[in-house]
């Protein structure tokens, strides 16, 4: 049973620090805690919306991300992109973590010039081992965000929060090197097929949304493809395709400045109403409602001015 919901909630943080700004930026850490830091086990949660970053300073954090067991040791950094499920097992560690809405993350990536095709990284996680100096720099960036969370509300707080979050991202991408990556690649044929499937999905997700198409391309039966995909993502093949497409659509909506008509043409839907129904079936919200809820511009000065 996969639960949909937030990866971090207030209930997890009985003794630790927890702060959430309108559900868009959420922080949690147990840096100040004295005594034995214990993380309680959590059920599997499917994350469709947030980029989840967690860093362990001492001890070990045990996680299962979409079927892969991860042991996050001291000075290790884990990024989990949307479309993955996360299970937390009981562990002892000092850590900090934060969740950022993927649409905000897209904006942050855009302004820091890192890259803007976030959906290429769906179904992937990035586990990196860093040296203590680099972790100390990231911790400082995190503390900057935390300090701003702790301040009482002031006008345009969100602009400042986003700026600090962007600073973290800029620092992070400057510090990391590919050699520090912890590899989970196995030589199994199934993993190779799964990777091939992701590549195909990347190429064809704008036009093809049937399992049959991808199975034919790979030369295997749809059922076998589904088994493989389930093993690595915790979802069936058709669910994975839908999640991937919707995730890509969300990014495109943002990059195209909220033009629903353009996006529905770009993704090969017969009409806007087909597109609307498809989007609603998967996210539970119509494209318009989704954009209204997650409007980048509302953070900036424009919307605030109108409200006043």
């Amino acid at each position: 049973m996969i639960l949909k919901g937030d990866l971090i909630t207030k209930a997890d943080a009985q003794s630790a620090f927890f702060s959430s700004y309108e559900g868009k930026y959420t922080l949690m850490d147990n840096l100040d805690e004295r005594g034995e830091p214990i993380i309680h086990a959590r059920k599997e949660i499917y994350n469709s919306e947030y980029v989840y970053v967690t860093v362990v300073l001492r001890g070990t954090l045990h996680l299962i991300v979409s079927g892969t067991r991860i042991e996050l040791k001291a000075n290790e950094h884990l990024t989990v992109t949307p479309c993955m499920s996360v299970t937390i097992e009981e562990s002892r560690c000092v850590f900090f973590c934060f969740l950022t809405s993927s649409y905000l993350m897209a904006d942050i990536y855009k302004r820091t010039n890192v890259f803007n095709k976030l959906h290429y990284h769906a179904f992937k996680f990035r586990h990196i081992r860093l040296n203590p100096e680099k972790i100390a720099i990231l911790l400082e960036c995190y503390k900057r965000v935390k300090r701003e969370h702790q301040q009482p509300d002031y006008p345009r707080k969100e602009v400042v929060l986003r700026a600090y979050q962007s600073a973290y991202v800029a620092k992070f991408f400057s510090l990391i090197e590919d050699t520090e990556r912890v590899n989970y690649v196995t030589n199994s044929r199934q993993y190779a097929l799964f990777n091939e499937f992701l590549k195909l999905l990347n190429q064809h997700h704008k036009t093809e949304r049937s399992v049959q198409f991808y199975a034919n391309k790979l030369g295997i039966s749809p059922k076998y493809l589904s088994t493989i995909v389930f093993k690595f993502t915790g979802m069936t093949a058709s669910q994975s395709i839908d999640q991937y497409v919707v995730y890509a659509i969300k990014q495109t909506l943002y990059n195209n400045e909220y033009n629903i008509k353009k996006v529905s043409v770009e993704y090969n839907f017969q009409s806007q109403s087909f597109f609307g129904r498809y989007f609603k079936r998967i996210t539970g919200l119509s494209p318009n409602a989704y954009l209204k809820k997650n409007n980048i511009k509302s953070i900036n000065f424009v919307q605030q001015k109108k409200e006043n």
């Binding site: 820091t112 602009v159 400042v160 700026a163 800029a170 991408f173 400057s174 900036n300 424009v302």
Partner: protein, 312 residues
């Protein structure tokens, strides 16, 4: 006509220096900085890095300056008016102001951030505001700040300074800009200034055209007052230029040009103490009365009334 203008200039020795980059003079050593982008100055090492500037004439700056005065007292000459600032104050001076520090107390402690237009344009764009030299010209903000706010700003400042001085890394300019963004929002909050929000998309070519038009306007206000000239220089039609301006500022191109001329006239009258005939001549109006009529059409009062009001 051109003959008489030169004569005018010879009679009036210039009282200010226009567009000289005083902050990157050789004898000025910033505490940290990257040339043509951001410069930081502070007195934490025990000396005042801006000391060599004390004998320079008033200068028109084209950078934006955030000046955080912690201790001591400083008197500025801003656009011909004396302003004395005491401890715990934030001073923000926008581009196009003509400034000079006339008196500096010996116990002064301050830190300041100078950003060049390229960076400040981007910062304003990122936090969702319109930024234009012409709109903010001749504006400055002076507000006292409390200890906590000052500490907060100092913390951001030291972060920026450490990274600017430190070794280069891949996304260093972006990182520093992020910190400057938050600094800017906090400055705006301190001044309780109600900025003009950015209308429309800030990543488009249109916004680029708009910014380039405004910077051209600052350069050519005196010689060229037709929309056509600016449109041709930018390689677009007059109609499109006007449309773009309306998109971002609810003001068309010719209104922008008029405002730039008025700003220039006001600066000449107030700062350089030009007479009305001198002003109208150096702005290349055919007669004083046509200048007066133009001035009244835009501002609602005649230049003489304006002068009387300001001198009070």
């Amino acid at each position: 006509m051109p003959q008489s203008t030169t004569n005018q200039n010879m009679r009036h020795t210039p009282r200010f220096v226009e567009y000289v980059d005083i902050f990157s003079r050789e004898d000025i050593i910033p505490s940290a900085g990257s040339k043509d982008n951001i410069l930081l100055f502070d007195t934490f090492s025990g000396i005042n890095p801006l000391d060599p500037l004390k004998d320079t004439p008033p200068t028109k700056i084209y950078q934006s300056v955030s000046y955080y005065l912690m201790e001591g007292e400083i008197t500025f000459d801003i656009n011909g008016k004396e302003k004395t600032v005491t401890r715990s104050t934030l001073v923000n001076i926008m581009p196009e102001n003509i400034i000079k520090a006339t008196h500096v107390s010996p116990n002064i402690r301050y830190f300041m951030v100078v950003t060049y237009p390229k960076v400040s344009n981007q910062i304003f764009k990122e936090i969702g505001l319109t930024y234009s030299n012409a709109r903010l010209s001749l504006q400055h903000f002076i507000t006292p700040v409390d200890v906590q706010q000052m500490q907060d700003m100092l913390r951001i400042y030291t972060d920026i300074k450490r990274d600017l001085r430190g070794p280069d890394y891949e996304y260093k300019p972006e990182f520093i800009r992020c910190l400057l963004n938050s600094m800017m929002v906090k400055n705006i909050n301190i001044h309780q200034y109600d900025p003009l929000p950015l209308e429309g998309n800030s990543n488009s070519r249109q916004y680029d055209v708009y910014c380039r038009f405004l910077s051209l306007l600052n350069k050519h206000t005196v010689e060229h007052r037709t929309v056509r000239f600016y449109a041709e220089t930018l390689g677009i039609s007059s109609k499109y230029l006007s449309y773009v301006c309306t998109c971002y500022s609810k003001k068309n191109a010719s209104a922008w040009i008029d405002e730039a001329v008025i700003q220039k006239a006001k600066a000449m009258i107030l700062v350089h103490h030009y007479s009305l005939s001198e002003t109208s001549e150096s702005l290349q109006f055919p007669t004083v009365s046509s200048f007066s009529r133009f001035f009244k059409r835009i501002t609602g009062i005649t230049p003489r009334e304006f002068l009387r009001k300001e001198s009070k």
